[in-house]
Symmetry: C2
Subunit: 292 residues, 2 copies
């Protein structure tokens, strides 16, 4: 059996730790077989091929949650670059959890997600759900709460330009720079932007969506880890983007607008000008994880 889990844009503008969107490409794929222990083989992007791989962590977590013995053998085709800001560990964790679920015959969403979050915890120290959850359900997701699991989904079709530079912003570092407390006025501003963004997404009003791709909760603190941010943002806006911001905790960035091929190219070139190689592409809201 094969499981596919898509990359995701977490944080998504003002929706820190709450909003996430699955995208069509890239994604991680796992071929899974029942086995008496947990083994993994990896092709594609380089990640550990042992028990520290988050797909294994998540698969083990599901077995443990259910009190099951045994294991799975997984062949992971790693399509999402690790530490890209595109939900690489979330997709692998989810693929591992879904793979284990298929072997065990489990269909409980909450259990699968809970197991996948253990993979996220291993990857970043924090079991945040804003990659795992959109990767599972597809579309744009709002996490009302993790426990109990309450997720709302917006079935939008939104095109995005994505740029991924050959630099890294480790998720754990990106968490460390966040303060414990934030100004109340910033909390209110994000709340206003996030609530407005929900309506704009429902109406597929890309101009308003673009305008609302901002954040006062995490971005102001994380920008110091991304000295290229302002230049790339400016290049995207100059190329006609309605809005642009970081994907997850970076370094990937994404933009919304009309001429997204040009916007993507402009962002890629802005990185190149700073001596940083970068891939760029245009994609759109993706479906959730699938198995066949």
């Amino acid at each position: 059996m094969k499981v596919y889990a898509p990359a995701t844009i977490a944080n998504f503008g003002p929706g820190f730790d709450v909003f996430g969107m699955a995208i069509e490409k890239p994604g991680d794929e796992v071929v899974v077989k029942e086995c008496d222990n947990f083994r993994i083989e990896v092709i594609g992007h380089k990640v550990p091929a042992d028990g520290s791989n988050v797909a294994v962590v998540a698969a083990k977590a599901l077995f443990k949650l259910l009190g099951e013995e045994g294991g799975v053998y997984m062949k992971l085709k790693k399509g999402i670059r690790p530490k890209s800001g595109l939900g690489s560990s979330g997709a692998s964790s989810l693929a591992g959890a879904v793979a284990a679920a298929k072997v065990l015959g489990v269909e409980d969403d909450e259990l699968i997600i809970r197991a996948a979050l253990e993979g996220e915890r291993a990857a970043s120290g924090s079991p945040h759900g804003d990659n795992v959850i959109p990767s599972y359900y597809g579309g744009f997701t709002i996490i009302e709460s993790i426990s109990p699991l309450r997720v709302h989904r917006i079935d939008v079709e939104l095109k995005v330009a994505v740029v991924l530079p050959e630099v890294e912003v480790p998720t754990s570092e990106a968490r460390k720079v966040l303060p414990e407390k934030v100004p109340l006025k910033d909390a209110v501003k994000n709340l206003a932007m996030a609530s407005s963004l929900v309506l704009a997404l429902r109406e597929e009003d890309i101009e308003t969506i673009g305008r609302l791709l901002d954040d006062r909760l995490a971005l102001p603190y994380r920008k110091k880890l991304m000295p290229w941010f302002d230049k790339v943002r400016e290049a995207a806006l100059n190329a006609g983007a309605y809005g642009v911001t970081v994907s997850g905790s970076g370094p990937a960035m994404f933009a919304v607008g009309e001429n997204l091929r040009e916007v993507a190219k402009a962002m890629g070139e802005a990185f190149e000008e700073m001596g940083i190689r970068a891939e760029y592409w245009v994609t759109k809201t993706g479906r959730g994880a699938k198995w066949f």
Copy 2:
């Protein structure tokens, strides 16, 4: 000419300073005539009948914004009790601004609202828009930004049980107890609840709306000014409410649910048991200000 401005439920659950909803009753009414200075007469609830009345402050502000000479004579029928938490100063400010706009032939929403906010500033020290704006537009409003004025409106029809006890929580006091900084996790929780509430309102899913009537940004600090809060909330939930919280900065509270007459009565009785007289009624989302 006559102007009517409805009462409003500001803050509305997790939407501190951002969400507001007009309700059908009560409201303030102003009969206006052109005049060479600013004069006011008041009937109904007791408020100043001089230049310190927020309707006069707002009317004057509009004249000033436009560089106009002259004034208005207003007869204010004050239907909303001051310091009730139901947008009393917001409705009077808006009625004053709209009255002046009608006399001057002004139709610019942003100017009218800006003038009304001056009334709010005089009343509470802070020109917050979450009463003035729903009182003007009606329905449920989300303030994306005040300057420039960007408001989103949800055309929901939501029934609410309202209770108004004979105690006061002055708005300025309610602002003073708020901290300058709040825990990031509380900001994220409110963002999650507020974004989810927007979808629930769009879908008129009153069970989810009720569940989301909570707040981590202001309520935890303001509850100490409302020692009755937990008892009244419990009474409403026991009577079958899906959710209940404070309206504006209180003392009014409102609940969402099915048997709202019983819920309203239960809240009223809970106050009476604490020796506080209270009015209660059932109303629903109202239209915005009107003139005839």
